[in-house]
């Protein structure tokens, strides 16, 4: 009675039977047919990256295949491997065993291994051309996937160099610009054309562009730094955080203040504060409306800022900017008693009796960004908050043939991974649109069904931190860390039942009791009995 079946409803894909079987009977399928079986990490990833698949490939010593697989989801894993805040790790089921798998370091390890590989020029197989407006993460991603599909793609960029937020928004200490250049060169080698210094809406209108390019992806990002309108907010020394970061990243060397205040509690605020500190500001204070635990910035970023000596003042909002001789001297802030109303809408309430004054010679507002809609056609739907509106699934806008994604779209969560995912989805839609296929068909939101992740059965060993050059894993560290992945939601399969020696170890070890070796043999009766 060799093993003949595994209870699919119970199997959680831990792979213990595969490892335990002395006769190599099983295989682990990390991509079972049932698509709804996402692993917890994949549900945490804006790009739904199948971490368990690439972890298992790394464990199998197949890093090249892992890299290929990763690029099905993420065009430039070397970038996300550096800047991604890895929400996947918070969801990792291993958190309940010891600590999360170091998914981000694994991603970077795999990506860096093949970072310098030269691209093969892609064959253009379609006559229709596609345009991507904006060369930030969403735009580059869309261009990458369109090029893979066989389209001639042109990327338009307003600034001198392509890269958008990746170049101008993210500080160099988080993303080495050399990596960005390598990836852009990769796109160029694939056959993607870049036209920089061309602003859509002023240099050329969208309508004009559409005549040559029947499908257009708007990934213009958010270029306008918002400021809170208060008394004194037009004084010299009041700047937008993104403007400041852009100036630094563009090498314009803006003056560094002695004391700076950053208003805002998001990741841009943290980046601005850290950049100010790194550039020599003596005192940097971050002031935000939210309480510390409610701050939208990622915990890791907040911790990093605090460890750099940045002060955090939570629960205060700006009342007025004070100044002397037209220059900023400080800011008065008042306590914020509520940030959002009961419906979750932004509607802060203040208590003016509780107030503070902070001295500063620069006030840096990091309270959100707006989309620059100059020259955009009338018919393009815009949300009340001034963002572009696009279908969540297909990225289609109100204009035929125009798609939009990335930070310019209201639904975006602002992460690079989300922008990559939006670009990928837009590329799929544009491909379908250009071929005349149904843009929506088969693209329903996957119903997420989580497995009971393996817990008790998993031997504990600590998370591996990279010791290699530049904080990258060595080959062995990566393989060790990959083995910590519990491959949640995979399926064990009986591939070689004829080799089963009925030692019953699979049955004994299975933590889910999904394996019961019985004399029942699957299959139907075969001839000659059928004749009766």
């Amino acid at each position: 009675m060799p093993i003949s079946k595994i209870n699919k409803d119970l199997c959680n894909g831990c792979g213990l039977c595969v490892d335990t079987c002395p006769e190599d009977v099983f295989r682990l399928n990390t991509q079972p047919i049932e698509k709804e079986l996402l692993s917890p990490c994949a549900t945490g990833c804006p790009a739904s990256l199948s971490v368990r698949r690439y972890s298992y490939l790394v464990e199998m010593d197949e890093t090249e295949e892992a890299y290929e697989l990763m690029r099905e989801y993420i065009p430039f894993p070397a970038i996300t491997g550096r800047v991604c805040p890895h929400p996947c790790e918070a969801k990792c089921a291993r958190c309940e065993v010891d600590s999360a798998v170091n998914i981000n370091c694994l991603e970077r390890y795999i990506a860096d291994k093949y970072l310098h590989e030269k691209a093969e020029p892609r064959k253009v197989i379609y006559l229709a051309k596609a345009a991507v407006i904006g060369s930030g993460p969403a735009g580059l991603s869309c261009a990458y996937y369109l090029s893979r599909k066989g389209y001639a793609v042109t990327v338009f960029e307003k600034r001198e160099l392509p890269g958008g937020m990746l170049r101008y928004g993210i500080p160099a200490f988080r993303l080495d610009k050399e990596v960005l250049d390598i990836e852009i060169q990769y796109l160029k080698d694939m056959g993607v054309t870049f036209k920089t210094g061309v602003a859509i809406g002023t240099d050329i209108t969208l309508e004009e562009l559409q005549k040559e390019y029947p499908a257009v992806f708007l990934a213009v990002g958010t270029q306008i730094s918002r400021k809170v309108k208060t008394e004194g907010s037009d004084l010299a020394g009041v700047v937008g955080a993104f403007d400041y970061l852009t100036a630094v990243n563009a090498g314009q060397e803006p003056a560094t203040p002695e004391k700076a205040v950053v208003i805002g509690g998001g990741n841009v605020a943290m980046d601005a504060a850290m950049t100010l500190k790194k550039r020599g500001a003596e005192k940097v204070t971050v002031i935000c409306l939210e309480k510390k635990e409610e701050m939208p910035a990622f915990d890791k970023e907040i911790e990093a800022a605090l460890s750099e000596g940045i002060e955090l003042v939570c629960g205060y909002g700006p009342a007025r900017v004070t100044g002397t001789e037209g220059k900023v001297s400080g800011i008065d802030v008042i306590a914020c008693t509520r940030v959002n109303d009961l419906t979750g809408k932004f509607a802060p309430l203040y208590d003016e009796t509780v107030n503070l004054h902070v001295d500063a010679d620069m006030i840096c507002f990091a309270v959100g960004q707006g989309v620059d809609l100059t020259g955009m056609p009338e018919g393009l739907a815009v949300s009340p908050s001034g963002m572009l509106q696009a279908d969540k699934l297909t990225k289609a806008t109100s204009l035929a043939g125009v798609f939009a994604g990335g930070d310019a779209v209201s639904a975006s969560d602002g992460s690079v991974a989300a922008a990559f995912a939006a670009g990928k989805e837009a590329a799929e839609s544009m491909d379908r649109y250009l071929r005349g296929a149904d843009v929506r068909e088969g693209r329903v939101d996957a119903t997420v069904r989580l497995m009971n992740p393996p817990k008790a059965s998993v031997p504990k060993y600590p998370r591996t931190e990279p010791t290699g050059k530049d904080g990258v894993y060595t080959d062995n560290e990566a393989r060790v860390e990959a083995q910590r992945c519990m491959t949640c939601g995979s399926r064990a399969e009986i591939t070689y039942p004829q080799d089963c020696m009925v030692c019953l170890y699979c049955e004994r070890e299975c933590p889910q009791k999904a394996i019961t070796v019985t004399p029942d043999r699957p299959g139907k009766r075969i001839a000659p009995w059928d004749l009766a």
């Binding site: 490892d19 335990t20 079987c21 002395p22 006769e23 190599d24 295989r27 464990e59 199998m60 010593d61 197949e62 031997p459 504990k460 060993y461 600590p462 080959d475 062995n476 393989r479 060790v480 083995q483 591939t495 070689y496 004829q498 080799d499 020696m501 009925v502 030692c503 019953l504 170890y505 049955e507 004994r508 070890e509 070796v517």
Partner: protein, 600 residues
């Protein structure tokens, strides 16, 4: 799959092949001394080999606190092993057992304890006979995975699912090995300054008996093909004392008086310790043998039987013990295998193949020094694949396997490190590597050929009958040997692997066939009976001619045999009566040569 074979090359200081306890110890110890270590296993390190099935017993020698006497202990082992054990290795293993125990403690391995004390005699011992020595037990199913975790944390490069096929040899020394990944089919060439073979013993079968199905002797055969000396092949195919089988079957010494339809459990009232080893009910007597197995063979050969266990009358005390044991070990449900220990029923024991398992006789690669160096420079062996003769002519006893694995692993690590320090550097010879690659990939690159599973079946049908493998006779072995050689020369070279899994089967089959051949040759060479080696044409023990180990090596396609007499100090004390020296003296056989020694 010709064009699909991907290749990778790894370079290291110490290559350890086999991820059982010996391999893991060797890797950890070599790593401790600063070497770069690669640890390979054809399955999964920490869940592989005999170690995964071992219950965690360690013979624990504590002269200071427990008053154990080394000589008494080793004398007992000599008697159990019919004087072909290596007493020096036994002493080493016992003396170092406490050090190894301390290692295990330091690495966080947990032992069974009762009332805050180490549980002596293991968790499941139920033995009324007072022991002169102690066995302690690591927590079953936990210790090997924990050792794996230790390997990973120490930075040992662990590669699972690599089927190692051939050693790389240049200028007379071993410089690594070549194998492939059994899932991805990638070819691995590993260049190493020193190679340690920890691949366990080997059988020529894959039969479902005591889960030793996968001991196909890959490492020993690899070493043999490369020219290393091996030993103990005549003892290797079965666990117990076949001599005991014959003795019990002929003397009918058990209560109840015979084997005819005997109720085993009643008969084993004096030996009330039974386990279920993953599906096989396994009544045992003390640490030395398993009566069911003796009787399995006896049932057939002596025309007795059938033998069965009757659980209806199980003793209350025994039932309690079973319940406690099953709960602790968490074994498979007894009902699963056709009977339920706790609810009565009968279990039958079919045929002689019960005897064909656990080859723990003193077989393997011959060590030339205490650091487990083989006769080939650069090649070391540890654990069950190293012929330390701690098991002599038969299974040495509970706990010896893990003990010797730990100790030889530690010794081999030191040997390998010392060797690396003194051995000259080398540049891998690409022509040699290409040659080995052609051999290794042969089954994978051809477009058609034989099915390895089919050949395995043919081999077993040829060799497994008890009248070849257990009750040996030159006439029968002479008939079988040419068939085995035909398989080796004409069928095995034309095996075809359709995928990496079959590629592994091809190599295992090839190794099993070579195993069978050496087994038959060595069995014919030893013209006496002893331990697990029983010759019907030479049923007596022959101390004068055969108190020796037999080494074999391959030279220019020929097997060369060398007899190595055991030192005089290892020999039995002939002033004692013969049935004290050999408790299993057959009733109808005169131990002629031993008698002659008396007279001298």
């Amino acid at each position: 799959m010709k064009n699909e074979i991907k290749e990778t090359r790894l370079t290291t200081d110490v290559l350890v092949i086999g991820g059982g306890i010996a391999g893991m110890f060797c890797a950890i110890k070599a790593r401790e001394q600063g070497a770069d270590v690669i640890l390979l296993d054809k399955n999964y390190v920490g869940r592989s080999g005999g170690t995964h099935y071992a219950e965690g017993d360690i013979q624990f020698f504590r002269p200071k606190t427990r008053g154990h006497v080394l000589k008494d202990w080793v004398d007992k082992l000599s008697k159990d092993n019919e004087y072909l054990n290596d007493r020096k290795w036994h002493e080493t293993i016992l003396e170092e057992s406490e050090e190894r125990y301390n290692d295990l403690l330091e690495w966080g391995i947990k032992f069974y304890e009762k009332d805050g004390e180490l549980m002596v005699d293991g968790p499941h011992r139920f033995n009324p006979i007072p022991r002169m020595y102690e066995i302690i037990s690591m927590r079953n199913r936990e210790y090997a995975p924990s050792l794996r975790a230790k390997c990973l944390q120490d930075g040992i490069r662990v590669y699972d699912r690599i089927m190692t096929c051939e050693l790389l040899k240049q200028d007379g020394r071993v410089v690594g090995a070549m194998g492939f990944h059994t899932t991805t089919g990638k070819l691995y060439t590993i260049i190493a300054k020193a190679t340690v073979m920890c691949t366990g013993p080997g059988t020529a079968y894959k039969v479902r008996a005591m889960n030793t199905d996968y001991w196909t002797g890959d490492g020993i055969l690899m070493a043999y093909r490369a020219g290393a000396e091996i030993s103990g092949m005549e003892f290797r195919q079965s666990t117990g004392g076949t001599m005991k089988t014959v003795y019990e079957a002929r003397k009918k010494t058990y209560p109840g008086g015979g084997l005819d339809g005997q109720k085993l459990l009643e008969m084993t009232a004096d030996y009330p310790y039974c386990t279920i080893q993953s599906g096989w009910f396994w009544p045992q007597i003390t640490h030395t043998n398993e009566p069911v197995k003796w009787w399995g063979a006896g049932e057939i050969h002596e025309g007795k039987g059938p033998v069965y266990c009757d659980f209806d009358n199980m003793d209350e005390k025994l039932r309690e013990h079973h319940e406690e044991y099953f709960e602790r070990v968490g074994d498979a449900e007894p009902a699963k295998i056709g009977f339920d220990v706790f609810n009565g029923g009968k279990a039958h024991y079919p045929s002689a193949r019960q005897e064909l398992n656990t080859p723990i006789g003193g077989s393997g690669i011959w060590p030339v020094d205490e650091f487990c160096a083989s006769t080939l420079p650069g090649l070391f062996a540890a654990g069950g694949g190293c012929a330390t003769r701690v098991s002599g002519a038969k299974y040495g006893g509970m706990g010896l396997g893990l003990n010797s694995g730990m100790v030889t692993g530690t010794h081999a690590a030191k040997g390998a490190i010392d060797y690396i320090r003194s051995a000259p550097d080398f540049v891998p010879d690409e022509a040699m590597i290409e040659k080995v690659r052609n051999v290794v990939t042969a089954a994978a690159v051809r477009d058609s050929g034989h099915d390895p599973a089919w050949l395995t079946q043919i081999l077993q049908h040829t060799l497994v009958p008890y009248y070849v493998s257990i009750y040996k006779h030159e006439d029968r072995m002479k008939l079988v040997l040419p068939m085995i050689q035909y398989m080796k020369d004409s069928i095995a070279p034309n095996l075809w692997a359709r995928d990496p899994h079959e590629w592994k089967l091809c190599y295992e089959t090839k190794n099993m066939i070579e195993n069978a051949e050496l087994y038959l040759k060595a069995s014919m060479f030893r013209t006496e009976s002893r331990g697990s080696h029983f010759r019907e044409d030479y049923p007596e023990r022959n101390d004068r001619d055969w108190l020796c180990w037999v080494k074999m090596r391959l030279e220019a396609g020929k097997d060369i045999y060398t007899k190595v007499p055991v030192p005089d100090s290892y020999k039995p004390d002939y002033s004692k009566p013969i049935d004290e020296l050999y408790p299993m003296t057959l009733p109808d056989v005169v131990e002629v040569h031993a008698q002659k020694l008396y007279e001298q």
